[in-house]
């Protein structure tokens, strides 16, 4: 895999990689120079669409297709919002781009803004990434000073204002409509859809929200062409992807890999994590950020890092935040950590999520406290069923997917915490009104 080009991380190891000088020295902003005045927005949209680039924030929606949803005839302003609200547990790949190659994201954002005819771009950075706000702002200032942003960029007639905005630290503001509400100064909670942001978004104008990593891939696609991009990876998962790998590993970190590479190579490969830490055995892996279903060790060894293989294994590529779990970790305790997170981060507007995340947390907590009840596993499943798919955004689903898969695949660890009963009792979701005596 070493012959795979580095599309996203080529500059990470260079000294002063975050500066305009270093970025331009190695060909930075050439894609922008080659595009403005030479390629129409339609042609650029088409090129990105042909590259098959999929959204890297977690949902994996084709970026070029999304750009095509923007109505161009409303007379309203069009906005590009860069989603740098990276907060999914286990996910820290956008941080590297923001920190080590902010100009790559900025160039990609200018290209994307041009493609959708937007004159206004906001970069929404997670509140906890405080130092990165300064880093990105400095890069934006450099770009303005160099005539790469602002009025009449590079004499092309195209103008773009770019504003760096710091969030206040809420996971849900990474959901695109939550982000829009937050950016408007409202409470950060998702909006009911339809309407979709591409039609009615920021300030009720057509809006595209793209992840940092998605945008960072655009300059390379422009420079090398869609065909070169689709030549990497698999048919359904073209290109490369950053994986942030955490856990008891010899060399955890952020790695760029061609999609389709075996997950075991990412964990055990010499160029990547180099295997488990001494004395630790692989027990499980959450491949795409804490919200996706977990894989057992066996499944981990057979899955590939691409949308389709992970789907075949019943999980998702998600954000590429791979959490590797060693044999000493208790899965109930780990689930409690995750559920506590979702309980804390639920915005609270939709009832199933507001009540369900707290309820799941409460049940797992009592199991760990030795106060479990015989039917608690069935109750957990019952709560999960009521939550999944029943809310405005997918935060409820994000809590349910780990909960369900942890219990399914590591049931013995949960059962070990159940109280012993003389006779097993099933959880029965009791009678309905019609069956009650009147």
């Amino acid at each position: 895999m070493a012959d795979c080009p580095l599309i996203l991380s080529a500059n990470f190891d260079k000294a002063d990689s975050h500066t305009l000088a270093v970025y331009e020295r190695d060909g930075g902003y050439s894609a922008l120079r080659e595009t403005l005045g030479k390629t129409t927005p339609e042609q650029l949209r088409e090129e990105v669409k042909n590259s098959g680039l999929r959204g890297r924030g977690g949902a994996g929606f084709p970026a070029g297709v999304k750009w095509g949803f923007v109505p161009q005839d409303t007379g309203k302003k069009i906005y590009l919002l860069v989603n740098a609200d990276e907060s999914e547990p286990g996910t820290f790949k956008d941080r590297f781009i923001l920190d080590y190659d902010p100009h790559l994201m900025i160039e990609g954002s200018i290209l994307a803004s041009y493609a959708i005819n937007s004159g206004h771009c906001f970069i929404y950075i997670r509140g906890e990434y405080a130092w990165l706000v300064d880093r990105v702002q400095a890069a934006v200032d450099e770009a303005y000073a160099a005539g790469l942003l602002g009025r009449d960029i590079l004499g092309s007639g195209y103008s773009l204002e770019m504003i760096v905005h710091r969030g206040a630290g809420a996971y849900i503001c990474g959901e695109e409509t939550g982000l829009i509400n937050s950016l408007e100064g409202r409470k950060g909670q998702p909006r009911i859809k339809p309407p979709f942001p591409a039609v009615v978004g920021f300030l009720d104008c057509p809006t595209i929200v793209n992840n940092v990593e998605t945008l960072a891939a655009v300059p390379w696609i422009v420079n090398n062409g869609a065909a070169a991009y689709t030549a990497i990876g698999t048919e359904k998962s073209p290109g490369t992807k950053l994986f942030s790998v955490s856990g008891p590993l010899k060399r955890p970190g952020v790695y760029e890999i061609p999609l389709g590479m075996p997950l075991r190579d990412l964990i055990f490969g010499e160029d990547y994590c180099q295997g488990m830490a001494p004395g630790v055995e692989l027990k499980a892996c959450i491949p795409g950020g804490s919200s996706v279903p977990i894989l057992t060790a066996e499944e981990t060894m057979s899955a590939n890092c691409c949308y389709e293989s992970l789907a075949e294994h019943g999980t998702m590529l998600g954000s590429g935040g791979a959490i590797v779990i060693g044999h000493e970790t208790n899965m109930v305790e780990l689930l409690k950590v995750l559920l506590q997170f979702y309980h804390h981060e639920s915005c609270g507007q939709c009832t199933p999520c507001r009540e369900g995340t707290g309820w799941l947390d409460m049940i797992v907590d009592r199991l760990l406290q030795g106060r479990g009840r015989p039917a608690d596993l069935e109750l957990l499943e019952h709560v999960c069923e009521g939550m999944i798919g029943n809310t405005i955004c997918v935060l409820a689903d994000a809590a349910v997917m780990p909960a369900r898969s942890f219990i399914e695949k590591f049931k013995n660890e949960f059962e070990a915490l159940l109280p012993e009963m003389e006779e097993p009792q099933d959880y029965v979701p009791t009678t309905s009104a019609a069956e009650l005596p009147h």
């Binding site: 009911i192 639920s346 609270g348 507007q349 939709c350 009832t351 709560v383 009521g386 309905s432």
Partner: protein
């Protein structure tokens, strides 16, 4: 038009119509819901109105969907029932289930839907329930119990979208989220009690009404608010001839779904201590026959004059006009100029604080000033429901110059204490009649309360007064007068078919058909 199938029955609706409303119309009852309200924006958060739409991968909240041609919708499928049941279960998880002491009991959506979809088993230990603020007065008229709240956000949307006063917000996240007033604010705008109507549960209750009456004892009658010239459509809630509250009644042509607090508290006047139950002669209770005898003697050989009122109904004023015309007597007008006016607001309150000034003016009655009252000196003056002395000191002086003042009134007031004879008539909740609001819309009053035993209908009293003046009229009641008015007086033809439930625009002619009971 679009053809859509709802629960195996085909219906025709406008394409693009709100699916929740289409289902309400098709099935004759609404889907279970807390957050949806036709007068507010779509929140889509309670998740109770989910339906199955064939071809859609997930259940869809009907409140945020629109009718499309060929749509096939299931509202009672197994999948929908399961989802609604578990969502209701979530709503009840931390709810205190204190129905026996909750004033909302009997008109609570949570109770109603629980009867239909509840799981009937407590899912959580009482010590695990999240405790929130209870019995918190958040305004002069509204009490908050945050534990009962289902966070439907109707009240917060009302204060941000309708009154735009922004007193209420949802604070904190997840299952610690709760409704409260913003720091340093109280919910004291003149529309605060609408939040109580909107609240589908017992989280917001009226500090005025709570614990006064269990709602299942109340009867309701349609009526119109008499607090100002807007004429908000409302219902009178009453039991045993005592009024307990007014609630707004939906009428898009007048008040939408809302009503101001001031008008809403107008029910208190119906139960007031000042209510007259017997004719008064020189301030002492007497009989109708004695009172009429005094009047008979007074009018013999004397000139008479009449004064109307913007509080009287169209029919009463028409009768007054007919009597004055027959007696060739002076009818001074309907209102002391410049009185009974206040500030209008941006929502519903009109500057004119009387319910029928427009109707009186359309009947040809005028405003008059206190100087005009000089003409009543030495005359017998009949005053219909107008507290002249209470409104203007000069008027009080002028009244004293009359040889005899006869007042037809519902309540004791300053004018009553000057009058030789006071005749108790029925108030707005005890009679039928028509009021014309500031927009020229005729709207009906209906009988909600039984009148005091010895009070009489003003129309019958006026007919008797006419008799004493030597003129016979055949009117039986307000309806007969209304028909006569519609048939004989220009500008009232639209009344020929009555006002209907939602009133009729005297200039346009056709009764309005949009509206009905307030949706909850």
């Amino acid at each position: 038009m679009a053809t859509i199938t709802i629960d195996s029955v085909e219906h025709e609706f406008e394409a693009g119509m709100n699916l929740f409303e289409a289902i309400r119309e098709a099935n004759g009852e609404p889907l279970p819901h807390f957050c949806y309200h036709p007068g507010l924006s779509i929140a889509g958060v309670c998740r109770m109105c989910q339906v199955e739409i064939e071809g859609a991968p997930k259940l869809v909240v009907a409140c945020n969907a629109t009718v499309r041609d060929g749509m096939v919708v299931h509202t009672r499928s197994e999948r929908v029932n399961r989802a609604v049941q578990s969502i209701l279960n979530f709503h009840l998880l931390h709810h205190p289930v204190d129905c026996p002491v909750c004033d909302q009991a009997g008109e609570c959506s949570l109770q109603d839907f629980y009867m239909e979809h509840g799981l009937y088993e407590s899912e959580i230990d009482i010590e695990d329930k999240i405790a929130k603020g209870k019995v918190k007065p958040i305004g002069e008229l509204v009490m908050l119990d945050a534990e009962r709240c289902v966070l439907c956000a109707r009240c917060t949307r009302f204060t941000s979208e309708v009154t735009k006063t922004h007193e209420l917000g949802i604070f904190n996240r997840g299952n610690h989220a709760e409704i409260d007033v913003a720091p340093g604010m109280t919910l004291d705008n003149n529309y605060s009690l609408n939040t109580v109507d909107l609240c589908p549960v017992g989280a917001l209750t009226s500090r005025d009404f709570r614990f006064q009456k269990r709602v299942w004892w109340l009867s309701e009658n349609d009526s119109v608010c008499t607090g100002c010239a807007t004429g908000c459509n409302m219902t009178v809630h009453h039991d045993a001839d005592v009024a307990y509250r007014f609630k707004p009644r939906h009428n898009d042509a007048v008040n939408g779904y809302w009503m101001c607090d001031e008008g809403r508290l107008g029910y208190k006047q119906l139960n007031a201590e000042s209510r007259l139950g017997q004719p008064l002669i020189d301030g002492s209770e007497s009989s109708w026959e004695a009172a009429f005898e005094i009047i008979r003697q007074a009018v013999a050989g004397s000139q008479v004059a009449f004064v109307g009122s913007p509080h009287a109904t169209l029919e009463e004023l028409f009768a007054l006009r007919r009597v004055a015309e027959a007696a060739s007597a002076d009818l001074l007008g309907y209102r002391l100029a410049g009185t009974e006016r206040g500030e209008a607001d941006d929502l519903l309150v009109s500057a004119d604080r009387t319910p029928n000034a427009t109707g009186a003016a359309r009947l040809g009655l005028r405003e008059f000033d206190a100087d005009a009252l000089a003409s009543i000196a030495g005359k017998v003056v009949f005053v219909l429901q107008n507290d002249l002395a209470g409104l203007d000191e000069a008027a009080a002086v002028a009244l004293k110059s009359a040889s005899c003042v006869v007042l037809l009134a519902t309540d004791a007031n300053a004018t009553a204490s000057l009058a030789k004879v006071v005749l108790p008539i029925r108030n707005a909740a005890e009679k039928t009649g028509t009021l014309v609001n500031g927009q020229g819309r005729a709207q009906a009053l209906n009988v909600a309360l039984g009148a005091p035993e010895h009070s009489r209908d003003a129309i019958a009293v006026l007919r008797r007064i006419a008799q004493l003046l030597g003129h016979e009229f055949a009117w039986e009641d307000a309806q007969a007068l209304c028909s006569e008015l519609a048939g004989t007086v220009e500008g009232f033809a639209a009344l020929s078919g009555g006002c209907g439930e939602l009133g009729v625009n005297l200039d346009a002619g056709a009764p309005t058909t949009v509206g009905g009971e307030v949706q909850s």
